[in-house]
């Protein structure tokens, strides 16, 4: 297996958000993590990427045989963990292409691969940019600066395409996307599906899952995975809403 999360407990600002979460992801699988707002979906994504501001108080995350929680965020990225940000950061003064080349070469260096020179890199960028229908102007701008919401999300998946991670976590990548942008992003993600690459799609809505069809769907509620199933679970949630699961959980607890 690629990722095994066991009994993960996470606090942010003294509030416990994840309360014993278990999740196992094998290589090549696509998992959707769904849940109502505030259930801890984004916390899970950010903790996997190593975002500051969270305190892991219990449990473990094993990634590719390593203790993920022991690794700095940049080492996680070099080891193949990629999170597409829910709110990508604008960085004035850093050219998008330069940023990505620096990132790719950092990852390649970590893997013991030779760095790409400017020409090789531009070739790769052109190929991947076409996949996400990114134009040259976007590549030459500062990182995410002045990008629309949809452009930012596309830029995230573009970065994923260039960095070729082993584990990609898409944190509400569908939010703020109109249907055309959603299709472009989903196409990009689907083209990256492979037997070696696992994807965790964190989303509130099942709409994205029409385009990125998951192998497994998990429902996160109250800081735990409360139900797991196949794709049909997402459709059921779409139809009935999250209240149904929450009521059932309350019933089970009562």
């Amino acid at each position: 297996m690629l990722l095994e999360i066991k009994d993960l407990r996470v606090k942010a600002e003294d509030k416990e958000i994840l309360k014993g979460l278990d999740l196992t992801v094998n290589a090549g699988e696509v998992h959707a993590v769904m849940g109502p707002n505030g259930s801890g979906k984004s916390t899970l994504a950010r903790v996997l990427a190593g975002s500051p501001g969270y305190e892991v108080t219990g449990g473990s995350i094993t990634y590719d045989g390593k203790d993920l929680l022991e690794l700095d965020p940049e080492v996680r990225a070099c080891e193949g963990v990629f999170m597409a940000f829910q709110y990508p950061i604008e960085i004035a003064g850093i050219n998008n292409t330069y940023f990505l080349r620096t990132a790719l070469n950092s990852v390649r260096k970590h893997r013991g691969e030779p760095e790409l020179d400017a020409v090789e890199f531009m070739q790769l960028v052109r190929e991947k940019a076409a996949l996400l229908e990114m134009d040259q102007a976007m590549l030459n701008r500062s990182v995410n600066e002045g990008f629309s919401g949809g452009e930012k999300k596309r830029n995230e998946i573009f970065q994923m395409a260039v960095l070729e991670p082993k584990l990609a976590i898409l944190d509400e990548t569908d939010s703020g996307l109109d249907i055309d942008a959603l299709k472009i992003v989903a196409n990009g993600v689907n083209s990256l599906r492979s037997p070696e690459r696992s994807i965790i799609v964190v989303t509130h809505y099942q709409r994205l899952l029409n385009y990125i069809v998951p192998d497994f769907v998990h429902v996160l509620s109250g800081g735990r995975i409360v139900r797991s199933g196949g794709r049909e679970l997402a459709l059921e949630l779409e139809e009935k809403g999250y209240g149904w699961i929450e009521a059932e959980m309350a019933g089970a607890r009562g």
């Binding site: 190593g50 990629f82 999170m83 990508p88 950061i89 003064g93 850093i94 050219n95």
Partner: protein, 435 residues
């Protein structure tokens, strides 16, 4: 403190002034009365103290304690000079050593006329100025022994940039250097000026107190870059006065990467309809440096935009002061003034005092100001790291980005590159190959 006490404390300057009176430079162009008045004013008031509102956060006691004597004529090593010219040979180059033009005049492009103390006119020596000078401006007036007057003829477009290098060659005693530059851009003319202030030695102590006057006739364009890279034992307290005529455009980039105490006072008067002034700056403080910027932008005519972006990067125990005054007079309707001041504090001990000061007496204007002081953006840092970029390099990239926001406004590539290299040197940053 009584006048006598102040005078005694500055006995070395007073002696120097008496000596200067006997030299022809002193009375050239009938300026002697103005010089005597300036020195009397200085003798009466002495150096400013922190009780003076304009110097509240800038204690110049280390300067007041020096036994300053007027800088003598000196020669600078030609290899050293060549290494300090950001534009190399690709410019009309003037070298001033200890405030005096050194060597023969360069070949001047058509449309450029130059005068020095030998042939300066009365109006060159004591130009009419808006209010806003300091005690150091008075010292400059009293002590300058040469000046460089650059006249750009009407309609002349000077494509070769004009490069002025000021070098201080130290003596046994701390020196007072009084460089004086006057630039007059004729109607619809265009010129670029790059000034560099540097020391010939890493340990010479000097107070460099330049006064620069820039006057733009209607529709003139002047682009001015100042790079202050003095050693960390010397002092640099400068005043620049700018007056812009109708529909003219003045752009200033002031970069400070040197000096123990460095201060720029810039006073701009937008003195014609539709004139546009940009005052940008970047300063880097390290060690015990104190970097002070005081700008005054006077909007006295309608339909004038002004833009001001000052950014600072502070490490060690360095301190910075920023005071940005914008006055909008009652006639100055449709003024569009924007001021931004940002500082990046890279150590716990670094600090900045920042004060925007907008006084608006017209009702149909747009004036904005913003200040942001802080550390590196942790969200941005995490974003870069989350893509595999090591912490050290990610920080490096963000600091570069912060600085290049101002430096990218410098149009001459070699000047921009030289400046960035100096910033990198001060902050011990690796160069980036970002184009």
């Amino acid at each position: 403190m009584s006048t006598t006490q102040v005078a005694e404390r500055h006995a070395s300057l007073a002696a120097g002034f008496e000596e200067l009176k006997g030299r022809p430079a002193f009375s050239a162009g009938g300026a002697s009365e103005g010089r005597i008045a300036a020195f009397e004013r200085f003798s009466r008031q002495g150096f400013p103290t922190t009780r003076d509102e304009e110097w509240r956060f800038t204690n110049v006691a280390p300067i007041a304690e020096l036994r300053l004597s007027p800088a003598p004529e000196a020669k600078a090593d030609s290899t050293l000079v060549a290494g300090l010219l950001p534009l190399g040979q690709d410019a009309v180059t003037f070298v001033l050593v200890n405030g005096r033009l050194s060597g023969p005049l360069p070949r001047l492009p058509r449309g450029v006329a130059v005068r020095t103390i030998a042939n300066a006119e009365a109006g060159d020596l004591l130009p009419a100025r808006p209010e806003g000078g300091t005690a150091f401006t008075d010292l400059n007036t009293a002590f300058f022994e040469d000046l460089l007057v650059i006249d750009i003829a009407p309609k002349a477009v000077i494509e070769r940039p004009i490069q002025i290098l000021h070098v201080t060659v130290p003596g046994a005693d701390p020196l007072l250097v009084a460089p004086r530059i006057v630039v007059r851009a004729g109607e619809a003319s265009q010129a670029m000026l790059v000034e560099t202030y540097a020391d010939a030695a890493g340990d010479g102590v000097a107070l460099v107190a330049p006064a620069v006057d820039v006057e733009l006739a209607p529709a003139a364009f002047v682009d001015h870059v100042k790079l202050q890279r003095q050693n960390n034992r010397s002092f640099h307290i400068a005043t620049m006065f700018v007056r812009t005529g109708r529909s003219s455009t003045f752009t200033s980039h002031a970069v400070t990467v040197g000096g123990r105490i460095a201060r720029n006072d810039i006073v701009a008067v937008l003195d014609g309809e539709g004139t546009e002034v940009t005052l940008n700056g970047l300063y880097v403080g390290a060690g015990d440096m104190l970097v002070d910027t005081h700008t005054t932008i006077n909007h006295v005519q309608p339909h004038c935009p002004s833009h001001e972006v000052y950014k600072g990067i502070l490490t060690g125990r360095s301190r910075a002061v920023f005071n940005g005054k914008i006055f909008v007079h009652p006639e100055a309707q449709k003024t569009d003034a924007k001021q931004t001041n940002k500082a990046l504090l890279l150590s716990d001990e670094a600090q900045i005092n920042t004060k925007p000061q907008l006084e608006i007496f017209a009702d149909d204007v747009k004036c904005t100001h913003g200040a942001a002081i802080g550390q590196l953006d942790t969200d941005a840092l995490f974003y870069l790291k989350a893509r595999g970029i090591p912490e050290r390099h990610a920080r490096n990239m963000l600091i570069h980005a912060f600085a290049s926001d101002v430096l990218n406004g410098i149009r001459l590539d070699p000047v921009r590159r030289t400046t960035m290299a100096l910033v990198e040197g001060m902050l011990e940053l690796e160069a980036l190959e970002q184009e």
